[in-house]
Every structure is written in C-alpha cells, then in structure tokens.
Symmetry: D3
Subunit: 231 residues, 6 copies
C-alpha cells in the first residue's frame, strides 16, 4: 500500500549543521567507513558541502508524481532523497521543482536517477547529486512511498537520517549517531591538521606512522634496479 509517513523524527539541527563543515570523506571515516553512497552519485555542479535531514521518496521508473507528495512533508533543513524502484535515467527533477523545494527551505536533492535544467539549478544555487543528467521528462501516473527506508546509491537511508554531500559524493549518517559522528569528525580533522603539517615539513608517512617494521615483517623487500637481471 503506497504510504506517506508524516511527522518523522529528525536528527538534531545543530549536529546536523555541523557535519557539512567536515565534508564527506571525513564524516565517512568518522563513522567507521560506512554510509558512503556509490561513486555514480555526482554533483551536477561544483559547490560547497551541504548537510540536512533526509525525507525519503521511493518512485516508480519514469514517474515523478511522488516528489510533489514529498514536498509537502519537507521542512527547512531537509534534503530530499529519491530512488526509483527500477533503474531509470529519466530527468525526474528540474528548475520548477527546485523552486518549489527551495521555497520550503530544502537544502538539496540526492537522486539515484536523472536530473535536468542543470544550468537553472546552478543559477538558483540549488544543489543536486544524481546518477545522470537527462532532460527526459516523467509522467505522473503511479504511486510510491514517502518516508519509508529506501536504498539510494547502494546505501540504506532512513527518514530523518543526516545526508552530507560535497564534490566527493554523498554520505548518510544514521539519525541517532549524528552527535557522536560530529565529535569523531572534529577529532579526526584536528589529527589530520597535525599530519598535514608534518608532511609539509617533509616527513614521510613511513616514519610518522612507524610502518617500516610491519612492512618488513610482512615480507617487503627492496632491490636496486641495477641488481635486477633482464626485465
């Protein structure tokens, strides 16, 4: 039965907003290398990182009707996450729907299908991550679901989870983990800053992380090229 779940619990605003600052790679590492969407989910234009709470939409192939239904469920700070139940490269979303969502305070769209009007969306500053850019229009004939768990970019997204997206891709943080992940990301960023300084000073990762003994133990050997016979 096609279902819209209303009044979903969302991750807290403050921790959600903080995650955009760390970016996708750091957040993904901070939660143990989980939650990253597949590499096919790419931004339609390069811009700053965003974060927001997920409103999830399951749509039929080539049919964008449920995006209108989902729009009503969105509130400021949300990110719309849309996935077709069978692969479709059609352009489910363009500048009109972008206007509708932006007016409601939605921060962006993540869609495992196609998007169009990419120039207008860039001018409006409404960011989209999609698997394809396609102008192919969709129909409004068949229902789907809003705010049930979906698979998008090969990852399970629950409504109210946090989406972080930047030019590296898209990562999903489960609703109840957001504060913990934000802390871990902050710690990681600080640690990386120290590493960056030592690398800039000319130190090698081999020495900084004391890798040489473990490499030797695993059997790595060094051979001078002039000692190699033939090839």
């Amino acid at each position: 039965m096609p279902t819209v779940v209303t009044n979903i619990a969302r991750a807290g605003c403050k921790a959600t907003d903080a995650l955009a600052r760390y970016g996708v790679a750091t957040v993904h590492e901070a939660q143990g290398r989980t939650g990253l969407m597949a590499a096919r989910m790419q931004p339609i234009f390069r811009g700053p990182a965003i974060s927001g709470t997920a409103v999830t939409v399951s749509v039929p192939p080539g049919d964008n009707w449920m995006i209108h239904v989902a729009a009503e469920q969105c509130q400021p700070g949300d990110v719309l996450v849309v996935s077709p139940i069978s692969r479709s490269d059609s352009g489910y979303f363009g500048d009109l729907l972008g206007t509708l969502l932006q007016t409601r305070g939605v921060r962006g769209l993540v869609i495992d299908a196609g998007c169009r009007d990419t120039d207008d969306l860039e001018k409006m500053g409404f960011p989209v991550w999609s698997r394809a850019i396609s102008a192919h229009g969709t129909v409004k004939e068949t229902l789907g679901d809003v705010n049930l768990p979906i698979s998008c970019g090969d990852i399970v997204v629950n409504p109210g989870d946090v989406i972080v997206a930047d030019n590296d891709g898209v990562v999903v943080v489960p609703r109840l983990n957001v504060a913990k992940v934000a802390d871990a990301a902050a710690a990681r960023e600080k640690r990386e800053e120290g590493i960056r300084e030592r690398y800039t000073a000319g130190e090698l990762g081999l020495d900084m992380n004391n890798m040489r003994p473990r490499l030797a133990e695993k059997g790595l050997i060094y051979v001078d090229q002039s000692d190699l016979a033939g090839n």
Copy 2:
C-alpha cells in the same frame, strides 16, 4: 554503396534559431517527450545552448575520413551529427577539424564517439557533445555515408532535422515539425513562468494541480510515524 546526399532540405532558419532559446528540456517536452538523445551524450565544456540543422555522417569505427567529406556539405547554421557503425571511443574530432567547421559557419558537433583537444575547442568556442573524451587518433581508410538517416545517441536523425543542445543534453526535432514545436515550446515556457511564480509564493504542486483527490483514489495513505509499530 557509400553515398553522399547533396542539397538536402533543411528546416527553416527562423524557427531553427528560435529553438535554442527554449533549451533541450522544454523542446523535448514540447514535442511530446520524443527525440531526446541518451544521457551519455554530454557537452565537453559548459556553455550556452545551440540549435542548427543536421548534416548527418555515418562513420566506420576509428575512422574519421568521412568528416572531411561531410564538411563540404555544411553551410552556416548547420550542426554536424556523427555516429560510428560500431561502438568506438576514439577521438574522431579535434581543434583542426573544429577550425575547418567553424570557418564554414557550423555551430557545433554531436558525436556518438570520442572527441579530443577539448581545451582548444573551449578556447575557440566550438561546442561538442560526445560520449567520450579521448585523444586516440583515427585513420582515413574506409568510407561511410553523409546525409542518410542515422542513429545517434539512440535516436534517429534525418538530414535537415534540427538539433538543440545544451548542458542537459541533445534533442532532435524533425524538419517538418520545427515551427509547431517552437510554438509549443513558447507556450510551455510561458506556462512554466506562471508555475514558478506560484511555487515561489509557497504554493504546493499538490494544490496547484489539484492532485489530492486522484492520489486518494489511487490508494495513497498517510500514517503518522508515531503510529507505526517498530520499523
């Protein structure tokens, strides 16, 4: 028999030129969602929309000889449309052929294969839509056809049809439909302007298009998350 068709009938200039203004998504919708090339056909650099009349070229895999033959058939306002008879990612086209075509007034290239010298082509302002960017050179050994119907980007293109291309992709308008499609596109654009204003004012598509009764009739139900047992 390898054939060059000369003196092809072309769509009228005025309607052809008008189509660039509406862009690919609008033109494709205006002709009933037909004629859009596959999403793999992407611009090598982002730039303004173009429109022009098609000179079609069927080429062997890895052989660009026929592009020279086709160049002679081009006149100002044309767009060259090239498709190999077997998949090839080779770079059939670079800045030299771009210079040759630009000098003849050709507005751009659409090729279901590879293109190279993308920096130079961007500097020259000669736009290309292709399935691949590849520097791999081609030979000049085998013939093909010019100005016969071809399949490019999964769409049939007849010589003299109109090509509209922008950062969303490429759409083909049959020669005899151009005026009618231009009118429909203008009407659609006007209608979209009204929609945009209402969306900006905060109206929902659900209300503007009176979708609620039809959604209910199809069986859509709304459930408060707190009423869902477990997940």
Copy 3:
C-alpha cells in the same frame, strides 16, 4: 614476493619537460598512436598539462599502504602511477597524501581507481587523473609492488617512462623514446599550425590533402536529394 625497486633509471629531464607543451593528443600521434590510456582516466579538475617520470605502484583492492612506500621512492619531477590488482573504486588518495607528494616535488597522480578530497587537491594545485571520485577510505593491511611494470588505464607503464596528462587524458612514452617523440611532436605541431591557417582561410581537407581521387576510387558516390525516390 612484494618488491620495491630502488634507483630506477628515468627518462631525461629536458625531453620529459618538453612533452607537456605538446599535450596528450599530439604526443600520442607523434609516437604512432600508441600509449594512450583508456578514456575512463579523467582529470578531477581542469588544469594545465603536466609531464613527469613514472614511479609505478601495484596495490591491492581497497588498500593504499603501498602509496606510502612509493612516496619515499619519488623525487622531484616524478608522477605517481597507481593501479589496483583487482577493480576498486575506493578513494585511495586525498589531500594528505597530496601534501606528502607535493612536498617531495611530485607533479601529479594517475590512478586506475578512486580519488577523494577533490576540492582540496584543486586548491593545492595537485592534479589527479582517476577512474572514479569516491570518498571511500582504504585500509593498510596488504603489500604490493613499487617500480615493477604495471597495467594502468589498459596500458603497460614501466618505471621511469614519461607520463603526459592533460584534459584529454593520459599518455605514456617509453623511457628510451622520449627525445625522439619530442622531436616528432614538435614537427607535428608545426605542421598542424600550417593546416590550421589553411582551414581558417576556408580551404577544405578534401582539397588540401587531395582526397577526392582516392574517395572516388573507393566508390564514394554523390546523389542530389531530389533524385532520391521515397526516403
């Protein structure tokens, strides 16, 4: 046995540096249309062409440990070339490793896998050519090889070979051919300049290269569209 080859012979600096000026397409043609990596190897941001001597790395899927080992083998003017032994889209490389390599004078990275932190790498001006952009982190558990011949982008790369990379892709020049290829590229560039001028003046390739007799001999025919019956 996992092996690091040290003190590799490298192509000469002067010829190596010269190759960047000609760009990938010209260099590839100048060496007889060989050595071009597959079209999937694309720059993570558009920038100027680079050239440099290859330090090669063979890595396990999802494991970037050997990049640290390879960094020590790099010297100013090198380009790091990395290939997994089984397809992996993981993000082996980000801004920290970019800092480490840039500090050592490495000019760029070519990797037949994923890369992340693309914004930071662009800000740093450290160019990367990769098959995917992915934030997915890697582990440091399993060894590979440094400076043995590898297959990257479907091409054999030997340590010390020259890598030339620009917005069209990546080409490999065998170490001992570099001077000869640089000469051929210079000659080709000069010849192309002449062609460009004649094209700009309105000459056709058909005439400039005297193609008409050979086209006729191969059986090309010209038919006026008005003489075609039906279609």
Copy 4:
C-alpha cells in the same frame, strides 16, 4: 560498532516455500511491482527457482571475513544475502564456502559483488546470484555487520525477509507480507493461465482488455502506409 544480530525473526516456512513456485516476475507483480533487485544480479548458472529467509551481511570491499561469521547464524531454509559497503567485483565466495553453507541447509547466495568456482558450485547444485564472476580472492582483516538492514541490488533487505530468485533475477518480500503476497501470486498465476489460453486461441490483448476506446481517447491514430507522403 560491528554487530551480529542473533535469533532473528524469520518469515514462516510454508508461505516462504510456496513463493519459489510462482517465480520472480509473478511475486514482484503480486506485491505491487516492488522489491525487485537490479538487473545486474544474475544467476551464475541456469537452474530452478529458490526461496528462503534472508540472513544479511554487510562486508568491506574485498574482505569476506564476515561471511564466516554469518554462516553460524544460518539455519536450514535460509538464503545468504551479502553486500559490500563500497563497490567490489572480487570473488568473495567459492566452492568451500558453498560447502559450508550447503551443509547448514542454506539454499543459495545473493551477493552484490563477485563469485568464483562457478563450475564447482554448479556441480554441487548451490545456486548464486551475483553482479560479477571473478576469481579475485579476498582478505580477512576488517569487520562488518550481520543481520542489520542492507542495500543489495538497489533494494533494502531486512533479516528474515524472503528472497525469491530464478533465472529472471531476485525479488525481496518483506517478512510480514509473505502470506499475503503468496495469495496474490496464486491469484495472479490463475488469471495468467486464463489469459494464456485466450492468447493461444488467437485473441488479441487489445480486445481481451478492451483497450481500443482508451487508445483512441489518448489520441492514437492509424494511417495506411500508402497514404504517407515521402518518409
């Protein structure tokens, strides 16, 4: 935190077993065209349909350690469902693990990654649906999860759901819907039998389903080819 969920609730045996009889297409239609995995999930050999209850496994790229952990959670009638957290074509599974699972009464494997030893698995009669056939071995270094919800073949799979798989692909039936879906599938199969007989007798779908008025209303026109001018 890497987690194994034990003592999962499973769909009932009888309804689960019944679903194999109807096959993937019918089951998928019977639950409203939902739950079908992406077309990339293909059988490694053609055989009969299976159904069983899902034990879900989330694995790192190129690391099959958790399959050993999951095996202990399997009981007769289960199907193992495995998905990497980042795309990997490695061969996570071969005839040894097949022997281990078959001994425990597991009916098959669905894996959104690679599989190997396909000849031996066919001889043993242990069916596998995978995205790739690859002999590339995996390591045992990094943890994942067992019996948490996963995304496999672009579909959310919860532990205890029913998997139905045949030569057309794989479909997932949520645990609590199984009896209802089995009834709907039986009804559909019966209806299809009636349709098959009428088609065999020469009736058209146009007439059997009274499609002609609706086609006309939507604007379909019929034109005799001899009345078409030109093309």
Copy 5:
C-alpha cells in the same frame, strides 16, 4: 501524434527466409559491414538463427502498452523490434506476450530494453534478443508509435526491413537490399568454405592472401628475441 502505420511494405519472403541460413556475421559483411546492432543486444537463450520482417515499435520508458497495439499489425514471418525513447531496463515482455505473438506467427523479439520469463520463453521456443533480463513490470499509460523508423541497438530500423539474429547478435538489412545481400552472402559463404579448407591444410593467411609485401612496405620488422637488449 502517436501513430500506427498499417499495411507496411515488407521484404520478400524467400530472400528473407534465406538470410537466416547465413547468420549475422556473414550477412553483416555481405552488406558492407553495416546494420549490425550494438553488442549489448544478446539472446536470452542460445538457439538457431532467425530472420523475419520488422514491425517496429517505439515505447515510453517502463510502458509496454504499444506492444499490444503492435501485435495486431504482425503477420506470420515478422520479427517485433521494440525500442524505448529513453533508456529503460524494465521487463517489457514475458511469456504471455510471447504466447500472443507466437500464435500470430511472429518469429522473435528484438528489444533495446529488458525481458522476463526467460525460462518459459525458452521452453516455448520463442527467441528474444534484449539488452537486459529484468522481471520489473511495466505500466500501460502512455502511447508510442508503430511502424515508424526507430533506433534500436544503435541502428536505424525501418518497418519491413529484414532482421537476422543469432547467438552473435542482430543485423538489419534494408528492405530493398535483401535479394542483393542474400546473393552476396551466398558468395561469401562459398569463398569462406575454400579458405577454411586451406587453413585446415595448414596454409597461413599471410601466404594465402599474399600479405607479406604489403606488411613490409608498411614497415613491419622482425626481431629475434635474443637480439633484444634487456626487455
């Protein structure tokens, strides 16, 4: 305007039937290496070659309504050729439609989209060439065209053209060329028989076709491995 063209001219029966005997590779060579569909068009089961006259169908993504419309236009000896106007992997066709078409004497289906019920279709002996196997069902909401030129497998197909399909793929022979192509195919097959005998007797292609002088002229050199310094 969605259109069905009736009473199409078809290629002659006798020449059409003859083409199946030669197979796809020979027919494709016999007409000058044109007309071959893309390699993605593969048989759903291995069986004998077929040939027949094309009834063409243009369908919306995920909508198979027009196949019912097209069925009425089919007569014994036809092959149905279906292409969506935007990429779709849905399963447009299964055993019920197979029964309907087989009853009307249709020899097979070529579809640039998905197909399902592959086991039943194999049992019935109704061959299909498709780009995907997918159980995903389709709707019946939107019109398309029957018997207008379409692009299928990257090739233009006109109604009444001849389709030849076997385990190597699918080739299209324009209606008016069929007799000529059949003759050329017969000649080619005879010539190949002679070549096969000479190869079996141990002759090399190098000698049989007197290739050595032309190879030398193009600059091929032979070097004994022991004379190569290093590798």
Copy 6:
C-alpha cells in the same frame, strides 16, 4: 616501429600443462592473488580449463591484420593473447581464424575486444575469452606488434608467460614462476580438500581457523534481536 619478436622463450611445457588442472582461482591464490584479468574477460561458451604459453598481439582498434602475422609465430601449446590499443568491441576473431589457429595447435584465444561466430567456435571446441560478443567485422590496414609486453584485461602479459583460463576468468603466470606456482597450487588444492571435508562434517570456519578471539579483539559484538529497541 611495428615489431614482431620471433623465437620467444616460453615457460616449460610440463609445468604449463599442469596449471590447467588447478583452475584459475587456485592458481591466482597460489601466486599471491596477482595476475587475474578483469571480470569483463568471460568465456564465450562454458568448457574445461585450459593453459598455454602466451603469444601476445597489440592491435589497432577495429583492425585484425596482426592476428594473421601472429599466427605464424604460434606453436602447439600456445594461447593467443590480443589487446587493442584503444577500446574496441568489434569482432576481431571468428571461425576462420579459429580454424587457422587450431590447425597450428593453439589452445585458445584471450582477447580484450569482441569475438564472433561463437556457435561455430563452440562446435570446433576452440575456446575464447573476450570482453564482448560482436559480429562487427574488422579491416586490415594498420600494423601493430607481436610478442611485446601488452596490457590485456588490466594485466601485463609478457610473451611466453602462461595463461590459465576457465569459466571463472583468466590468470597470467609469469614465465619464470610457473614451476613454483604449480607447486603452491598443488599444496593449496590439497589443503582445500581437507577444509572441504571438515566443512562437510559440519565444522564452522570460525572454529576451524580459530577466528573468534581475533573477531572479539577487533570489537565484534553479538546482540539478540529481541534486545534491539525499534530498528
């Protein structure tokens, strides 16, 4: 300069022949998980494993001339390994060339491009591993190299190396490692036999390999589903 290297050193017959018995997965593991070609290299029909010494061929896209040149360099026990210098799906190889090679005692073909006449090749028992099945013919215009190192299926192949291929794919064993790899494969097979027996007797890998302490140390936790709150 296009070059044919003659009188190449080949791996020894006995060890080469032995490798087919172990199959691709075992050989690949036995040499430390290296040398496996990409998963796109698939058999055109299922048959027994083969092994043989590589004669390598580098070919232009869409041009199979060099296969004739390479045939002369083949001797009984060889496997021909062919790779285009730019991606091509054309059908470089069919039953005629299969006859030529089979007559010379060649055991099979590995080609990172297309193959055709698959039915005839199956009837002849001449096995082929390829990236595509395509009837598209090739020309004979441009030279390449025979018996230089090539990249095929993303792996470096040197002439005289051993190729092992079965229904799981293709693996390359460097010429000088063959005896050592054969020994390691034999040892591995024996060890696997012991594992298989213990699995058949119901033992778990967890216990057999004493994995539990290391899993616990890495932080794996077990939770009863009834103790999980909500999802």
